[in-house]
Symmetry: C2
Subunit: 191 residues, 2 copies
DNA sequence: GTCTATAAAAGGATAGAC
DNA sequence: GTCTATCCTTTTATAGAC
């Protein structure tokens, strides 16, 4: 399957996995080209501005992929409370399958690292989070919530999911994600 | 003031500030010894196991300092809802004063980085989070909540605060912390 | 305990052949 | 477009004088 990808795609997907798992600074360009079995010359051919440009491309890639997953999950349930709860439970399930390297579901580490090194990367991450939040917002509005209430709740959702993933990673245990999912009805009850 | 510290303390506090701000991998030992104006020999004299041992010590230091701050804030209000709300608003305030390098309030970046490089550092971070969570737990129990309910809510609080700080850092904007504080009454209403 | 010089490895980036 | 060899910098870590 990887052999069907072209060189640029191989570099990009390998970088995305490594950046997500180990972070920006812990991931060497040599590691990326070795893991993806591509020559270093190609990396700089496709990403002339080096590591930062490659990171920007991976942020966009991961952002879009996760966005797609969110939409897919939320569409499976007309009731937003149930839909969002199921989505977070799905995250919890994916967390336990995270050996499967296709399962990317967070850019938190990469985002925090970029804060102190590159304003353009930081902004790229901000845009990704905004995109995700807007998806929650749309779901809440479509179920009849006022725009104001939906805006507020979608931000809280975003922050809770981010926090739950972070704590789950640090504890190496998905129970915080499950607990968050269970708490969603209480949180959204307050319309 | 810094001159009153001994060499070990200078290294430790400087490392804590840099690790918190820029992360583990982005902070070089040379940067730490330069910033703290201490000789490299002393670093390896006090921390024979190098960077990892130094990081472990800073995690403990930051954990204890923040723990102290949490206790201090929560003690100022007998009502736990108000106390926790005020505590988060204080975080939001500190966020805007973060040029003051004394103001450490998160080990999130450091913690996420350690997940993939050192299980002992990861566990050190987990213990810090558990310590903080227990402080919220004690406050909730002391106000009459059942142990079970307090346990559940203290974990949710921990995760929301972590998420709010993360998103605030990435957005470079403390409004998510303020929004979280405002949401606390709704969350804790569900006893 | 303090300090400096230096080793040894890894990092990002570039040049230039093909 | 592909590939390799190499440069320069920075990293962690150590040796050994004082």
């Amino acid at each position: 399957m990887e052999s069907k990808m072209n060189t640029r795609e191989k570099i990009l997907t390998t970088a995305a996995i490594l950046f997500q798992k180990n972070g920006y600074h812990a991931t060497g360009l040599n590691e990326i080209i070795k893991e993806s079995a591509t020559p270093k010359g190609s990396l700089y051919y496709y990403f002339p501005n080096g590591k930062e440009e490659l990171a920007a491309a991976t942020i966009k890639l991961m952002g879009d992929k996760i966005q797609h997953d969110i939409k897919e999950e939320l569409a499976q349930n007309s009731d937003p409370v149930q839909a969002i709860k199921e989505f977070i439970l799905d995250l919890a399930w994916k967390f336990n399958e995270k050996e499967d390297q296709e399962n990317c579901f967070s850019i938190g580490l990469l985002a925090l690292e970029t804060v102190s090194i590159s304003d353009s990367l930081r902004k790229a991450c901000t845009e990704v989070y905004d995109m995700w939040t807007d998806t929650y917002y749309q779901k809440l509005v479509s179920s009849g919530l006022s725009s104001e209430k939906a805006k507020e709740l979608s931000l809280i959702l975003q922050l809770m999911i981010e926090g739950a993933i972070t704590i789950s990673l640090i504890r190496n245990d998905n129970t915080m994600l499950v607990a968050t999912a269970e708490k969603i009805p209480v949180l959204l009850k307050d319309k």
